[in-house]
């Protein structure tokens, strides 16, 4: 046997190569959107590295189950408990080869996103514990599928553990306790927040425990005979105890999956009377943010008071200055509408209305301010993209010059959220 064959032996290379290709394709398709971002954030890439393994895990469970049904049943010539390597050596070899190829597929699939982030990200580094949740999620699914194949050695039932893994890995959408156990978390993450290291660490330990328990359990069951069944039962209970215990803890005390970063370094620039600041990880957006803000504010006339600070939402934390206008910098969506929307809301008295009616308050409580903000959003956005131009609502008939005049005349009532129906044009 040549050295190359050792990479797949004793499993069929066609199955392993196709599985690795499918794993790679599923990860690429799930993370393809990361490639087109204007800027990369390590927190997002690290998160997606474990969040996008659902189909890879399903495939791993099915292929591993099929392998077990093919090579391990007692009825097979090489499957009896009397063979010296039946048990742990067989399970170790099968799972090592299978997961080696699954891991190769995963690495190929996630590599473009990691390389792009490594070359483009302006802040931070990879969250290794979070990333590890991805390949370990696939490996644990593989071990679960293999165990199923050992217990139910029927090849036709190989899709069953795949369905089981799909349902199990979808649980994080149902209960938060699962987020500490499974690779799929289903929360939204962006710069300024990180995955809770207690959660990612716990997840890694849990998935490793599941992987080890399933492998040991498979080995015990392959080695078991009718005579050794009582001892095997004790071993089964022992193998299930640790992952079972670990699975209960997050439901007793559910941890927060995300934490605010203690440090949020910023870079700033002054334009007119306004200070524009972004997180260091968004430094490349600062010039554009300043330019868009300046143009947007200029279009609304000099009478409109410019906000003192326009800051990147990634810098926001608890107890920050309420006078700051927070702008969300999305790596995919164009910046201009986001800035236009935020500045328009600010100029239309969003902050004052929130202070007056509560935050978050029902926006129906201040419909005039909402109408103004809505109109301003479209007008300012239209400065940058013509497709945002529209004519409707109470301000729709006003020209830009007329709107500037109206804003100058109603500046006080707008700023204090006292705009009434009689004030509308």
């Amino acid at each position: 046997m040549n050295r190359l064959a050792a990479l797949w032996w004793p499993l069929p290379p066609v199955v392993l190569v196709s599985s690795a290709a499918l794993v790679a394709a599923s990860v690429v398709l799930s993370t393809r959107w990361l490639w087109d971002q204007r800027f990369q954030e390590w927190v997002v890439t690290s998160f997606e590295a474990h969040e996008q393994v659902l189909w890879a895990a399903v495939l791993a469970a099915v292929v591993s189950c099929w392998t077990a049904t093919r090579l391990t049943p007692t009825r097979m010539l090489f499957g009896g408990a009397h063979h010296p390597r039946t048990g742990w050596p067989v399970v170790r070899r099968h799972l090592a080869v299978l997961n080696g190829w699954f891991l190769l597929g995963y690495v190929v699939g996630i590599a473009p996103a990691l390389v792009l982030t490594a070359t483009r990200a302006q802040y931070g580094g990879p969250d290794v514990l979070a990333i590890l949740g991805g390949p370990l999620g696939i490996a644990a699914a593989s071990a679960l599928g293999y165990l199923f194949g050992v217990v139910v050695p029927v090849a036709l039932l190989s899709p069953v553990p795949g369905v089981g893994v799909y349902l199990l890995y979808s649980q994080s959408a149902v209960a938060n306790g699962w987020t500490a156990l499974l690779p799929l978390v289903r929360v939204w993450i962006s710069l300024g927040r990180s995955e809770n290291p207690a959660v990612t660490g716990y997840r890694v330990i849990f998935l490793l425990t599941v992987l080890a328990a399933c492998a040991v359990l498979s080995a015990v069951l392959l080695r078991a005979t009718r005579r050794t069944a009582p001892r095997a039962l004790v071993a089964v209970l022992g193998c299930l105890a640790l992952p079972g215990l670990l699975a209960v803890v997050p439901f007793v005390r559910t941890p927060a999956p995300l934490v605010h970063d203690a440090e949020r370094p910023r870079v700033c620039a002054e334009r007119g009377d306004t200070e524009y600041c972004v997180h260091e990880g968004h430094a490349s957006e600062l010039d554009l943010l300043g330019a868009v803000g300046e143009t947007a504010l200029a279009s609304l006339g000099e009478s409109v008071p410019a906000p003192r600070r326009v800051w990147d939402l990634a810098l926001a934390g608890r107890g920050e200055d309420p006078g700051v206008v927070w702008v969300q910098l999305d790596p995919v969506l164009p910046l201009e509408p986001a800035v236009a929307s935020t500045l328009a809301g600010s100029i239309a008295g969003d902050d004052a209305c929130r202070q007056r009616y509560g935050d978050p308050g029902p926006e129906e409580d201040w419909p005039e301010a909402v109408a103004l903000a809505d109109d301003l959003r479209w007008r300012v956005a239209a400065l940058f993209h013509e497709e945002y131009a529209r004519v409707d609502g109470p301000f729709g008939e006003l020209s830009d010059a007329e709107l500037v005049r109206w804003l100058a005349e109603h500046q006080r009532t707008v700023a204090s959220c006292e705009l009434g129906r009689e004030d509308l044009p």
């Binding site: 046997m1 050792a6 032996w9 004793p10 069929p12 093919r70 090579l71 049943p73 009825r75 097979m76 010539l77 090489f78 009896g80 408990a81 009397h82 063979h83 010296p84 390597r85 039946t86 048990g87 050596p89 067989v90 080695r223 005979t225 005579r227 050794t228």
Partner: protein
């Protein structure tokens, strides 16, 4: 290979009641009616059942260091399945590996074993293309690939057509020339054709241990009970032995 006072029970049911038996080089047959304990005795010998402490090969026990059978034993079970999509060579090589051969040596070991059972020319074929007799020979090759000192065959010719059965017999006869082979079967003619020595297991005990000729001559002085021809003298001797010992239980 030596069996020394081997006992075994399934719950309260005693299956083996002190088996003492010693095999030498060549083919030794283990005869016995259904339920006599043949498969249990073999399962103990190959480590498929725990409790084979009274069974040795040379000076060593028949259990390997990690459980299961010792590498000095090769075992072909009564019935087994194969992966239809695997090649003949892959099957024998994988069997060699599960029997303890180092991975890099498995393919060479498998080729040697396939040569011994006259399947060397079909190494590249898929298992699904083999006939029943060829599958049985592949099973024997799989048990031989790790070069065991003792080969244990459980009913190796059952279910084969006459031509295949003769071919498998020829293979077993050749293998028995330079190694110890334990052939367990209820087919008397296989024993008569192949074995130098024979042990008869009835109700959990070895009730006869001797040569085929000795068993054949054991009851020559007795007339057939029903006057009908009962087949060969050997078969007649065996059947009377079983009846006598079985009736005593």
């Amino acid at each position: 290979m030596r069996f020394s006072d081997v006992h075994f029970s399934y719950g309260r049911k005693r299956v083996l009641r002190g088996v003492d038996w010693e095999l030498g080089r060549g083919i030794s047959g283990l005869l016995g009616p259904n339920g006599s304990g043949k498969t249990t005795l073999i399962s103990l010998a190959v480590g498929a059942l725990p409790g084979g402490g009274g069974i040795t090969v040379g000076d060593a026990g028949t259990s390997g260091p990690n459980g299961g059978a010792s590498p000095s034993l090769g075992y072909v079970p009564q019935s087994f399945s194969l992966v239809p999509g695997m090649s003949v060579l892959q099957t024998a090589a994988y069997a060699a590996w599960v029997n303890g051969v180092q991975r890099r040596e498995c393919e060479d070991a498998a080729r040697r074993a396939l040569g011994l059972v006259d399947l060397g020319g079909r190494a590249g074929e898929r298992v699904r293309a083999l006939s029943g007799g060829q599958r049985q020979r592949l099973g024997i090759a799989a048990a031989l690939a790790h070069e065991p000192r003792v080969l244990v065959l459980d009913e190796p010719t059952v279910g084969l057509d006459p031509a295949q059965r003769l071919r498998v017999r020829e293979v077993i006869a050749e293998l028995g020339q330079d190694r110890t082979v334990l052939l367990a079967t209820h087919l008397v003619e296989d024993i008569a054709y192949l074995c130098r020595r024979v042990g008869v297991l009835v109700a959990g005990r070895i009730v006869f241990d001797g040569t085929v000729e000795e068993l054949t001559g054991l009851f020559e002085d007795e007339a057939p009970e029903d006057g009908r021809a009962l087949g060969s003298a050997f078969e007649r001797g065996y059947e009377r032995l079983v009846r006598r010992w079985g009736a005593g239980e």
